[in-house]
């Protein structure tokens, strides 16, 4: 088991954003997490990545309990996160953004970072990854000069540069047009390998259903269904959550 989320609950103030959710992810899986707005999907993602501490429950990564770990430590042990709101480093070129991620493993120790100067290999690798996600032409541009679609690709390239075993993608398709979204979805599907799993949070159901073999559905912070995509989509409770009460 690559990732095991057990009975996680998150409360902010008096509000329960996520209630008692469990989720298992194996190596080589592509799992879509869906649910209406306000379902707590992003909170779940933030718990897995370490941006939010759960009120109760635990998270195991590769059998190791990482519940109390900071996000950078999780990243250095095989996790990568691409956020919904793209956050490029604005003073770095796209290639430098990716190169920094390529060198992440040496960033755990400042001493190691201080004694290493050469970054050509990482810049080279950064360019390769930009090529892989299809934006090599903008490698030397600054993030402010490229369109949103490019930045979405950059997030993906940066996540790949961390050489993760598990990638968390939060709404990578949001804001893209239909053609771009389809292209991006294909790219995401092609990134899943035997040693790399992806969890995808996405509102674009058309694409999620198309590329994800398994879906996890939550609504108002609670578990609704988890299983093969077709079965999940046939579940009346899932349809009701999406279409409103009247659809039952």
């Amino acid at each position: 088991m690559l990732l095991s989320v057990s009975d996680v609950t998150v409360q902010f103030g008096g509000v329960t954003a996520v209630a008692d959710l469990s989720l298992q992810v194996d190596r080589g899986e592509l799992i879509g997490i869906i649910g209406p707005n306000g379902a707590g999907k992003t909170t779940l993602m933030r718990v897995i990545s370490g941006l939010v501490r759960p009120t109760s429950g635990s998270i195991l990564l590769n059998g190791q309990d990482v519940t109390g770990w900071t996000i950078d430590r999780r990243v250095r042990s095989g996790l990568a996160l691409a956020q919904q709101i793209v956050k490029p480093l604005a003073t770095f070129t796209l290639a430098e953004n990716v190169a920094l991620a390529c060198g992440s493993r040496r960033m755990g120790s400042p001493w190691q970072a201080m004694t290493t100067v050469d970054r050509n290999a990482e810049l080279q690798r950064g360019r390769e990854l930009l090529e892989l996600v299809g934006i090599a032409a903008a490698a030397d541009d600054y993030p402010s000069a490229v369109p949103l679609g490019y930045l979405k690709c950059l997030e993906l390239a940066r996540a790949l540069a961390l050489e993760p075993e598990l990638i968390l993608l939060d709404e990578p398709l949001a804001g893209l047009n239909q053609a771009e979204a389809a292209q991006m979805a294909d790219r995401i599907a092609s990134l899943v390998t035997e040693s790399r799993s992806i969890i995808l949070i996405e509102h674009n159901l058309r694409e999620v259903i198309r590329i994800c073999p398994k879906l996890f559905v939550q609504d108002q912070g609670r578990y609704l269904d988890f299983g093969a995509t077709e079965e999940v989509m046939a579940n009346p409770k899932v349809r009701a959550a999406y279409l409103g009460e009247g659809a039952i």
């Binding site: 996000i71 950078d72 120790s109 190691q112 970072a113 100067v117 961390l162």
Partner: protein
Amino acid sequence: MAYEVILLTTMAIMVLFALSLNVITGFCGQVSLGHAAFYGIGAYVGAMLTKAGWPLLIALLPAAGIAGLIGFFVGLMSLRVRHDFLAITTMGIAFLFVGFVRKQEWLGGEIGISGIPAFGFGRIGLLVVALACAGLFAAVTVYLKRSWMGFGFDSIADDEDTARILGIDVPRFKLWAFVIGTAGAGVAGALYAHHVRYIGPDSFGFVESVTVLAMVIIGGIGSVWAVALAAAVLSVLPLWFQFIDDYKLLIYGLLVFAVMRFSPNGIAGALQSFRRRLR
């Protein structure tokens, strides 16, 4: 001749002092409004030791070490606060330092420490030492900037949340910046103490903290050469032009304001955008 030596020594010490803050504020993006406290710590440690018979060159090491050690603890505390809160906390540290020293009889209290022994190799010797320290520190920071540590600092200054997502251990990097920067200020302080040969609590107040921050900012946050240049020019300007002395702080103030108002990236930033426009 003697006057030029004094001028150049002042300049070298201020360059070192400004470059040390540049590591914390310029490289790592952590605004400190209390850097003079570490300059003061270095000055007091250096002065006490040479008065106890240590040679200055050896006393520089504990001056750096103790300033860096206290810098480490201040850095540790600063990890809990960010941005505006950090600026105010470091300002508080500076007031704490001055307030503490003022009340310590063994540190000379209000009166300060006078009769600090002159450097064994004379004024020129001190100038050589100061130039060497400033040069060495500049070289170290240029190297740092090029290393992966500098890469990491850049990302933290840019957006520390994103830096964490890219696997950078942000707190440890910040601590290193604090230790390197405050140790550098310690050396600068010890040199200063032997340059003027009298120190008191008022030599290391808030105005000194702001002055050095002004040098870093007017030079252009992060750029080693521009900061060194700004520090060199701004530190001797009032000495060169005695008539300016009365207006020294007024000009500082207006300059800092004008740079922020019209070119927030400092002189280096202005040059860069000018060069970009030429292209």
